[in-house]
Symmetry: D3
Subunit: 339 residues, 6 copies
């Protein structure tokens, strides 16, 4: 019997408020409003590509909550599992984002304490959710948000795993939410349950004290835990508005590394969410193409490269656009595959 | 020796986020950003008219705090007594405002818990502040925000009074902040210290259980407490976009009521802050014209009538504009003065 | 066994391009873009209120088609049954709408020939669709678009009826699409299958040659055909920007007329789609509340009244907002019910 | 032999800078830019209706001058006779216009001294111009601008008259440019040459000391001078955003008054230029329809009524739109014609 | 006797709808509207530079047609020969243009079937047109649009030639309109009549099967046909937002090649219409300066380089701006001339 | 006793009107409005960094003057010494600024003759002003504006000097205001009074006929006059949108040159006012840090580098932002100090 969702993700949804690229937080008369959040970005990206996805979160039961629902639905992500917080103290987390212009750096102001999402518990979600998805994804951000969120994440991972779902986890380390030590401790609690693991090389070194080259590091995770696939995005920042993006992916069962030529000289309009677009593309590739790692990586890289060109956190590329870019990209310079 | 400020006000400053008049909170891509807050509105309105004013409040020490400072300075209000909250948990209260269009009502979503302003205490302000102003103004909103704010308000009123300042107080009852019973209890604690008292007829009836006609009610406050002047704005809502606005003012020392012809058929673009504009104009008139009640009322009414025509909380009329309107208004139909 | 949809509607989806309310088609640098279409409006309105809805239509398989899909998903309407036209000649119908300002009338320029929707046939939709909905709705516009659309509409009505769905039909007469004579001829072919019939009094007189007062006219349809419920919106245009809106509804089984006090002095920002919002609200009321005609009418009237306040074709009110308005409306003046 | 222009007008062209209708000159970040000027408005309005028109003026030979040329060309007015001022001191006059919102009045700030137009002299225009037009129009504004402009106007009127052109003149009295006494003195110098004379009843009384009712006043001008047609617009200001507009027209040769029912309850978005639209429409009617006064008045009234609905000085209605409105207007209530 | 036009062009005029550079066709709420079309772009560019130009085309007789007329007049192009299509099925072709951002490519969606322009025939234009212009220009796009357009183009070329006009033709090959084989067949029918021929090196190779280097290719056309001047633009795409632009021009009578240093590192805001700006500049140079090829090329190159900096299809540079750029450009590095 | 101002500056304030970066002066419908002026820019930049500043100027006493006051107050600059011009001929100077896009250069149109500021005289300012500031700053632009302004500048410099203020002067040579010869003559009159002198190397060579390398030039000024500090900004224009910025500073008392590594590859959004931001930062550093030249230069360079990233003339960086950038800048590559 088919499960109704290919992918469910758990995480906080934030309102993002940004002045226009030429304005500043401290001036101007307008904010552009949009929604974001690492796990929502993944669900939205995967939905646009073709997966049946949904988001598990908690939002205020007011007009801002309606805005969030509208924006999520627009991307085809199911909102059935959005818990609505009826309290008068219910609040939606906010982050204010100011674009940079060299030498001025981008600037973020967070206002995400006391949010409805931080108070999520198991009782906010029906028991039936755990058997309804082929894959469950969350990230270190959810673990770090609050004790409630951490307990919820760990228990959900366990329940989804029990019901046969693949478990996908992105470390997504944020030093403003917790220390590296805390991150390592709690993530190590769940790694025995994780199937698909996203962790950048830098984080692996700094948080998990890994050593060696990138390939050694990725492989080591699969040696310590029963992880099937480890993926690390690889970014070179030539300048704030010009990056290169690629990734390294390791599949334990075949002991194979995957790495195609990176996308060079990407014009960076907005880098927020480009890592999540990579996760979304990779999960789409794996779940829609029988865990084909090469295809998954290509989709992940291309989806991320495209995300750089649009403002906001959320991906906006459907499969046709991604596959067209891959054809152009691999046409001129085919990626390598190394055993 | 002259005090450096004519008027200092105490109160929370909020970020106001509004979609364009034709859009809704749950849709659209932009919020217009501005600042507001009952006591700031009063200080800004009085500053534009010509008083030397300042605001006592607490805001986050970040880019949003800078935005607030810029907007306050623009109106000529001194920002020296804005305490900056350095904590990472510092936050600026927000209110989301959606314009109405009959039969759809305007809609407000508050997100003003856990703010820096709610944690204001005496230690946030220098001792010198109390001797630096001719008049101190605050409102029931500040009393209602938190225990810290209430304690602060009451103690500040006492200290300013000791230093010879006039005390101005606007009831500004908000049922979403406290009950009528609470409001009455706490306001009665400070009424013995109040010189200029703003209270609408409705609030006087519902919160203070006053009876009789408007004149009897206003006068009764001066019989119960040593209040010099009591003022009540008077509004008729013909339709959401068409109001009439006037006021009734009573001076105890001369036992005189003041009431001019109201402004009829005001086109209402944004009614938020129109009551504060009335307070600002009245205080300007009293403080700049030796407590001339008739002049004060005319300025208050005209400043409020003009405020209806601009979006946002803050008044925008300088003295010339207000006096020009008064000349037109009184030219055609002179107000009555009744002993 | 539950059917997956409460309501499926069939109709063309148009791109709507409008200058800002103060600009004209022949000037200005921008068009506001949105989507509309009578039957989409109905599905979207019913979805926002709480029904599980979907739309049957055909759109180009290109970026404009993606735009349409995004906008439909945003309102929670299922896009599974949107046929994608892969031809290079595929096109999305357009209508250009210029707001009026008395004495200048609103102006519409249609560009809706040769569209993908006009070529819809049975083969564009899976056989399973007919058993998947509790109610099927379309309008005279679809009958009038093309021979293909007419044949499709009639056959679909038959198949849905066979599978036990209620059939809802809105005459929606448009003189620029067909003559009154044609309209009457073809609509009379399907009236034997219709359960819920929407027809304004004017159209009933002019197109169906009905006579008598409004009640006699509505009732006569149920005497000629096995129609359960007939509804007619009732609008008074006080001025281009001020209307009153109410409706008359007749239920044959109980021989009861329903008519509540109309919404008076509605501020009209955009009247397009207000009739569809009435249909959407009425269908929601009937389908979600066991054919409760009084409730359905109240929802229909209120949903329509609210729609006048937002630009674009599509309703934007969720159930809470509609019910809040009804409470205010009926609080002051309760509607009448007449047998 | 046909003259190449039906109508040439002489006058200053101004840059108009306006904040959005809800903003003020002293706030906001944007000005809407457009061009205007009484005589340009007349030429543009007549061109849109179908006359071959041109404008005589002087503008700076820089990017702002190019802007002016573009905007004039857009309306189909010939720019061949625009003298370009090559001096570094060349400047374009500006007027800043702030919309009102009751009780706040609209506000104008003029910055039109030292302009290129004020220095226009005969040598700026080729001798051939005088024989190239069927009608020449200017207004009292041009007479009032400067001594150069006054001398130029008077001489041009003489030369055009000599070459057989009809002379049209609109008093357009502006108290900020000259006194009533000056206006009367200079206008009386040219009245012996005028064929079509536009003068409001108020101006006739105050400036020309006319007495009697409107009809007597209009007729008296034709008794004092060899004027063929006198026209006066008639406006009732119900409120700043609601006017009625009509006119009274007198033809001396037939001793006939023309007066149709006024346009009632016009929604006033921008009243600037509505008088010029009336002049433009009337001149179109006379010049294109063999001096048919009834037709001319209907076009003039309708063109003016329509102008109220668009921002800016310039008319935007083509003949079809004007005639459609006339059909609606006269359909319901036909105007009167009185001998 | 002087002909009234220096240049008449024949071609379809399209409405161009673009989201802002950061938005996508499938998202956002606004389209920027403008007009374009290869032959209109040429007429507009030449008009701004100083030629007396007009456009031959057919547009709907509705508000969109008025928009088109306004935009054309703004650029000084005569609209006398715009046929107005009165049919209800009249439509204006549209193209939707989405800007790219590397690695995302620009995207175009065409909606230009069934347009009024495709149905143009000889009877839409007066016989007098053929003797009224010194030069007639059209492009391969017009030949490719429809059989009607092809027949019209060929016949017009013949009639203009008979009346002594120079014939200018730009191949402008578009693979989405016809095949290379078709293009070659039909263009070869008209080449015996062409005086000035624009064809890129790539098109010459792919469509006309030319071989050799660029100079050999250009010269060969003049050997096969009685063409006087052949011009090819030369573009290097360093990146989507950085191009170099120059050209090669060959004059048969003097057997001379012209090639100046290209414009390097042009910031590309919008490349659409830059080829047409080159044609416009070249034709201006030839027609206004007695077929001076060096001058014509410099104007063509500079006009094209400048066009890259403005959004939309239409050039916006007047002669002064172009000549100033040429002075800067040739000052630092003078072009070469080779016999 | 402390003086109330750290810095007072004297200069004209202009209204700046700019189309959006992609538009042109001759097209588009909007101007972005802002204020600027070399000396205002300096006062505003220094105020944001922490100095108590004020501006001496003269503006019209109308709504545009209010706009100017609001914008100045927003930056915390005191407006007490703004003389208000009550004449009807009062006018605010304007400059129109069009952004460039290679190869199209930025374009400026000045409209700054006959302004209120040009008529400033001593009587516009109270005698008390001269003893109220620690430092007085003006520039060559004020000297060049008019004879009135020149006489005023020279006399003010003398009076401030007498009262013990430091005199700061920026040559700011503008060839459109005066000749190099005039500039040299008048500036040499005041150099005996100047303490802090800003002059670029190019201007020193061309206007003051200096020879030798940059260091020799700067030092020579201190040999000819009793100047304490000479500063020259140093800019490399890699392309219109990419500059490098640094400076050279010489302190006579210690015979020391200061020069840190320049800021490389600055993204240039708007270069107007970046020189003034350098002056503002340098003056802040000197006045707030006991004439510490190294600190002053770092603040000056960083403040200027940051200014490039925001539109408009006025700096927008507070001290924290500037110091954060310095920390990043000096962290990677420390500047040199050379005796």
């Amino acid at each position: 019997m088919t499960k109704p969702y290919d992918l469910l993700t758990l995480g906080e949804i934030l309102l993002r408020l940004s002045p226009s690229p030429e304005e500043r937080l401290s001036s101007g008369d307008f904010f552009r409003k949009s929604v974001g959040g690492a796990e929502l970005n993944v669900a939205a990206g995967a939905s646009l590509l073709g997966l049946r996805t949904g988001i598990l979160s908690k939002i205020p039961d007011n007009a801002l909550g309606e805005y969030v629902q509208n924006q999520i639905q627009l991307r085809g992500v199911d909102t059935r599992y959005l818990a609505l917080d009826p309290l008068r103290s219910a609040r939606l987390g906010i982050y204010y984002y100011e674009y940079g212009s060299s030498p001025r750096k981008p600037q973020v102001v967070y206002d995400r304490l006391h949010t409805s999402a931080r108070s999520m518990t198991l009782s906010d979600f029906p028991e039936s959710v755990y058997s309804s998805a082929r894959c469950f994804h969350t990230s270190g951000i959810t673990l770090a948000l609050s004790e409630d969120c951490r307990a919820l994440s760990i228990e959900m991972i366990r329940r989804f795993k029990e019901q046969g779902a693949l478990i996908s986890f992105d470390v997504n380390y944020r030093s403003n939410l917790w220390s590296g030590e805390e991150a390592r401790y709690w993530i190590e609690q769940i790694l025995p349950l994780v199937d698909i693991f996203f962790c950048s090389e830098d984080t692996a070194r700094l948080t998990f004290h890994k050593e060696g080259d990138a390939r050694e590091i990725l492989k080591s995770f699969t040696e310590d835990y029963p992880i099937s696939i480890v993926a690390a995005s690889q970014r070179i920042v030539h300048s704030p508005k010009c990056h290169s993006f690629g990734s390294l992916l390791y599949q334990a069962s075949t002991d194979t590394f995957y790495q195609e030529n990176p996308y060079e000289k990407i014009e960076v309009l907005d880098r927020i969410g480009t890592g999540d677009a990579f996760v979304a593309g990779t999960l789409y590739g794996l779940l829609a193409h029988s865990m084909d790692c090469q295809y998954a990586q290509r989709i992940g890289n291309a989806a991320s490269a495209l995300k750089h060109s649009v403002p906001g956190d959320l991906p906006i590329s459907r499969l046709r656009e991604v596959e067209t870019l891959i054809a152009e990209h691999t046409g001129s310079a085919s990626g390598e595959m190394v055993r």
